[in-house]
Symmetry: C2
Subunit: 402 residues, 2 copies
Amino acid sequence: MHVTHLECSKCKATYDSDQPAQLCEKCGAPLLVRYDLAKAKADLSKESLKNRKPDLWRYRELLPVEKEENIVTMGEGMTPLLPLKKVGSEIGVNNLFLKDEGILPTGSFKARGAAVGVSRAKELGVKVLAMPTAGNAGGAWSAYCTSAGIEAVIVMPEDAQEINIRECLATGGTTYLVKGIINDAGQIVAQAVKDYGWYDASTLKEPYRIEGKKTMGFEIAEQMGWDVPDVLLYPTGGGVGIIAIQKALQELKQIGWIGDKMPRLVSVQSSACAPIPKAWEEKKAECDYWQDVQTKIPGLRVPKALGDFLVLKSIYETNGCAVAVSDQEALEAQQRLAATEGTFICPEGGSTLAAAEKLVAKGWIKPDEKVVLLNTGSGLKYPDTVQAKPLCIDINDKLPKC
Amino acid sequence: MHVTHLECSKCKATYDSDQPAQLCEKCGAPLLVRYDLAKAKADLSKESLKNRKPDLWRYRELLPVEKEENIVTMGEGMTPLLPLKKVGSEIGVNNLFLKDEGILPTGSFKARGAAVGVSRAKELGVKVLAMPTAGNAGGAWSAYCTSAGIEAVIVMPEDAQEINIRECLATGGTTYLVKGIINDAGQIVAQAVKDYGWYDASTLKEPYRIEGKKTMGFEIAEQMGWDVPDVLLYPTGGGVGIIAIQKALQELKQIGWIGDKMPRLVSVQSSACAPIPKAWEEKKAECDYWQDVQTKIPGLRVPKALGDFLVLKSIYETNGCAVAVSDQEALEAQQRLAATEGTFICPEGGSTLAAAEKLVAKGWIKPDEKVVLLNTGSGLKYPDTVQAKPLCIDINDKLPKC
């Protein structure tokens, strides 16, 4: 393992990486994992990757798990990068791709953060961890913790989707439903963490989830022949993925596997909860708390992310932007993708297509640019987004010709 | 492409492969695709696979699609082969693995058959296809047909799972619900095929679905270092997969990539619909129609498969066996896997663990044998199998210590 230390993303204070760590003790910001990249470069070659399994552990020299026996895996990683020829042509982008994270264990990109986060927690001797969640993170962390032999305490708001609740229960998480909203779940977890010394696995409150999400960036670069797209659109709730993808590409640049070019990173949110687009329009370094969260899209219901300043930094540094689309636009884009390309993705993923269309109309995306939409989960976890009804027939009916 | 012709699986009559074909015109049995394996061997090397994407098209020399432009793909294939250390140790199998087909586009192994079947249908100029389905096949064929620009007419019994109906609708299939059972759906499709000349994509009524399913066998062999397990357990409805896996391994043997050893193939069904175990116990070459289908496990509700004689043949030829487990045993095994290993699979997949346990108890499976359980789909498509309930708390409650 080539981890050297943990570094505060804000005040740059450093911490040992061989103890469980949460937020920076000095300023309360998230910690980032730092590596001896020269050593990693010496130990890893593009050629050697060819002999490795198509899961995210193929990049193990750039991941924070020391001993192989601590790796907790369900085969996560190397999700497809699908060309969207039909939809691309419809919206005027000749090289449009979908990085489809719905095809992962637990049906969402949360599996990456959980695989690496839980593996490292196991390595550090964690016995119990807790987290608030409104959706896919709960199922993923519950599943990987069970595999690791760690007890996962998952606290969800009562309006969480039924499938997410059932997934946590099935995979052995101790699952609580609180009569309140996600913030209430967060406070209950914070109290228990304080009272019992549990490991806090809330978004960005431990440093290793980012490392798992980073592998999305590694894979996109590898799948593009060690190149990067011109534009990458990311549906943003907590924002871990966009921070992680930038970190991944910076690390690849430092080991010389890709050039200086970075994709313009685009953060997409719902206009019914758009703290990042608002801050970006106002050229601010961090967000105001979004008072009235109205979006019904579960992954986008985050009024102010702990890592908001890092998301904004990744946008500013890459000459990206932030876009708000309505829930309706996101849902229509999701349905359009399914009905045109056959890929049934989640509404969060749909928002990126809606945003790409707006950016093309503005001329911000050019027709020949390589554009990647990041889909964070499977539509199968969002059955209620399907509005169409089947045609009902009797056993003696004949089908009409078509 | 190295396809030479189609061959009847029963009477050995041969057919051209460059026209759409359905069942044998002489005897009504399914057709199998035959290849020039010497040519395929010359064109494909184990080494060259290392430079290919981790999807099922990596084996294209042994698949029936001629032109790359006809390939319809959503990145399907190379699902993980997961060691089940904890459950294996509990049931007394030291090398127990799960081939987890839940991690595929559309959430089930049906994606393989659909990817190859639809690609070849596109190549042959098919414009409309139809199929009866009670579940996952409908969603898969609907999705791939939409991607291919083929119209899919999907007919389901009214008691089909809601998620399967919605998946078909979302992905653009023309979806009918018939007030009857799966056999009624089959008859309605057969009539429309006759009336309108549609392509019949029912199980085994076209020869290419098997070719897609075959890749499960290729992958297991590749993942085991071009070796085969001692025992492979397969949940059997229509039985395409078990037929296909045997065909795959026979082809690998013929090109010299694996030795003579074949896994003992085990067909697992529900005791509430067990035509294959009954026929196997009676040493018959084909099944009686199972009059009273009581199993609630959707993929196992097949009273007599069109390819039953091929399933039985694969069992006899490999010294395998057929096992019936109760629905309750299958569901308990599914829940046990999720709660022990974290993998949330479907009840069909669960049945294989229940069957393995019975075979260990009998001494039919030895402790040091390599045993593969084939899981056909994601538990996320079976939310009703989760019986546990979350713990409800108030916003001022504290969590108990654990």
